[in-house]
Point group: C2
């Protein structure tokens, strides 16, 4: 036999068992999005390369999957261009989407005349990146984004936090939601007299968890931050205590920075509203997620202009499983300035890993077919088919084994598929107008008419 | 302002209203697939080009979207290869999937050790074709396939027909399911002494609807079919009457062809089982779909080996909206011979067009947000947020307008979004602990406490 076929590295097939688990995650996110009034859109897998290029930095441009033009793709290419980096742009007009944010910005601008603002949209689709594949990093993966554009009200931030809390409450994952604010970071850089070094500062302190304080300070010095400025930063980096403690301290530190104080006010409002609205959320046994002010949180700093969020799972060692923030100029790159928005993105693949590690999937999602009719031959299957139709009419996921194969083989099939009930009807059952219903877990058997059989399965 | 951005020709954005309608179709198909015991898989958008090339004929190879290799894609390309058709294969290792059948065949072979046969799988994903875009033909579109592999029982054909019937019954589309059998077509070619001309014969008679009998006969003559053979074909092409009449006639015509009679037996069995099992299906007012033997139906002839299906909408002039059939060697191309299967594919885009033309969407699917809380300012919104949380807890899709904008603007937003209920609370309502609930359709207003408000909306 020929060699087994394979798929491109960094891509995956999803088996029925994996699909059940993935759909459970996607359905949960989708339901919560809908509950909060978000509307779904979809955009094409392929965008014009001009839409994508230059939006993700130089590194991002390299990671775009480009699609070879159809037909005579070499037409118009001059021989001296062959072998130059610019050739790709000649050969390819289209690329696969790299995230859902840029296509969404493009969508808002392209359809602005049809949209009612504020626009609460969600989008759950694949994205593609020509990254080096490694454990937990794929070249094709899903993103689950929700954004509100056309409103700079902080209520939107509160809504997103509530939504994050609700998704993880439903999934049963204990999380800590971390929050920070770009304006606080700007204020910090300002008060230590290093406003122009904000990127270096935040990149360095963002690594605190990974590399420790000494290395952060070394990196700051290397970036040319003077010693007195670094020492002014120390109380901020090491800031601990409750959110209220932190806010009190940082408000003092930033008392001279208008921008910084604005950031503190924003975070204070979001924290207060969130805690007011989630108090009492524990009545069904699930405590609400903590919301923790973390001044070292930066994420894609140049992108965000206000609140920044990140979600960490408490019981599994894994990177952030959700992130997002406020941006003030999403659509400016497409010629429509001044539109503010705020969004979050659930990392479905990491959430999948967390649920797997904690074994948190509900038992019910594994079941597909609930009832298998055994096939003993033409007369018997004709008898079974009528009952099969009645079962399906009652909403029972059911099938009949298509061939009159050996009993053992059919039972093995039921076991391999995790089918909980099997119905058998041979000569005796047919004469009595009944089926033998076997509970595959307990091994119990009962003689039942079709409607009793339906009751026995649906009442379970 | 810069020029509006656009998307590649032949691709589409889907707005929230379009997504609701599309999801209604996909959910209906998915539910019926699950009811019949089919399990979902997904495969990557990108396959190795070696998996795809040569599987769709020469024309198909040209219509594959190819993905430029990452990094130095010109490395190893010799200068004399530049400008040759073989260059694409050097530049691209991967392509976008063209249908769901070849990736499924690849999946079955690659995962054969994990699979339990017979395998009932369904798959609902996009496919991409570099076809010339035109009305109703896109470069990116969804396919919704269900196949049973590893069993040659005709019960599978019956199951698929029942499933087709159930999907269109649920969607409210009146259809005719046409059935034919490759073995009957072979038998016909055989008995008129033209077994080697089967492709020409079926291609010609497949056009009967479009070009009429005279042109079909002219085409047959042009293909080198002798006059006496053409005249023998006439009663078969013109065959009419009930399925029973047609079967009786064709059984006589094919009495000398073993293959042909096998095909007649197969169709007879499927028709009988289907009609037995769908009798009584009209109790909820929906007559079952007709199943009509159509000897001119051929579809992708070289591919199918047994029954062939096609579904036509009765009330809209449009091409086939579903198709499928039996194939005996799906996985042979990947080195795993002898695996028989049968499948169907729903054409979601055409079904969408049919539902639009007949305006058959249920009213409920248009609603996303059910209730909007008007925002009158910080104190009022704080009051509303608690009720909002209670509404969501009760499962009501609800939101609050994020800004304290003018009343008129907020009501316009509710209207544009088709939100059926609006809740308002100013000073008076807050003092009384109630909301004014406005029914946007009737204009009626009531003063209600939060739990009464929830009851008023959920009982509707």
């Amino acid at each position: 036999m020929a060699q087994k076929p394979s798929i491109p590295k960094g891509t995956r097939d999803f088996s029925p068992a994996e699909m059940s688990r993935r759909n459970y995650i996607f359905d949960t996110i989708r339901e919560v999005y809908a509950l909060y009034g978000f509307e779904q859109i979809e955009t094409p897998a392929m965008e014009n390369l001009s839409t994508l290029m230059g939006k993700y930095g130089e590194e991002g441009d390299k990671l775009l999957f480009k699609i070879l033009n159809s037909g005579d793709f070499m037409r118009g290419v001059k021989s001296e261009e062959v072998g130059t980096p610019a050739l790709a742009a000649q050969l390819c007009e289209k690329g696969l989407r790299y995230d859902l944010t840029v296509p969404f910005a493009r969508y808002v601008v392209q359809h602005r005349d049809e949209l009612t603002l504020p626009f609460r949209r969600y989008q759950i689709q694949s994205v593609w990146r020509a990254d080096r594949p490694q454990k937990g990093r794929y070249r094709e993966f899903y993103q689950c984004d929700a954004d509100i554009v056309g409103s700079d009200s902080l209520l939107n931030e509160v809504e997103l936090m509530l939504m994050v809390n609700e998704v993880f409450r439903r999934l049963g994952i204990r999380v800590c939601i971390k929050i920070n604010n770009r304006k606080i970071l700007s204020g910090i850089a300002e008060v230590i007299g290093q406003a122009d070094k904000i990127v270096d500062i935040t990149v360095a302190i963002d690594k605190l968890d990974k590399i420790g304080l000494d290395n952060v300070n070394a990196e700051l010095a290397e970036a040319g931050i003077p010693e007195d400025a670094i020492s002014k930063l120390q109380p901020i980096i090491k800031l601990s205590g409750s959110n209220e403690d932190k806010l009190r301290t940082i408000r003092e530190v930033l008392s001279e920075s208008e921008t910084g104080l604005k950031g503190v006010d924003e975070v204070t409002y979001v924290l207060q509203q969130y805690s007011t609205l989630t108090t009492g959320g524990s009545e069904d046994g699930n405590a609400s997620s903590q919301l923790e002010l973390d001044l070292t949180l930066a994420r894609g700093l140049n992108y965000y202009t206000g609140c920044i969020f990140e979600v960490k799972a408490l019981d599994v060692e894994i990177g952030s499983i959700t992130g997002g923030g406020r941006y003030d100029n999403l659509t400016g790159i497409f010629g429509m300035p001044g539109l503010s928005g705020v969004g979050i993105s659930f990392g479905a693949d990491r959430i999948y890993d967390v649920l797997n590690q904690l074994d948190l999937y509900p038992k019910t999602i594994a079941t597909t077919t609930e009832l298998l009719f055994v096939n003993f031959g033409e007369a018997e299957s004709a008898y079974a088919l009528t009952a099969l139709a009645a079962c399906r009419k009652a909403g029972i996921h059911a099938e009949i084994y298509p061939d009159a194969a050996k009993m053992k083989k059919q039972m093995q099939y039921a076991n391999a598929r995790n089918i909980p009930y099997v119905a058998l009807a041979g000569e005796n059952e047919i004469a009595q107008g009944v089926f033998t219903l076997k509970d595959m877990q307990s091994g119990q058997q009962q003689l039942l008419g079709t409607s009793e059989l339906i009751n026995a399965i649906t009442k379970k």
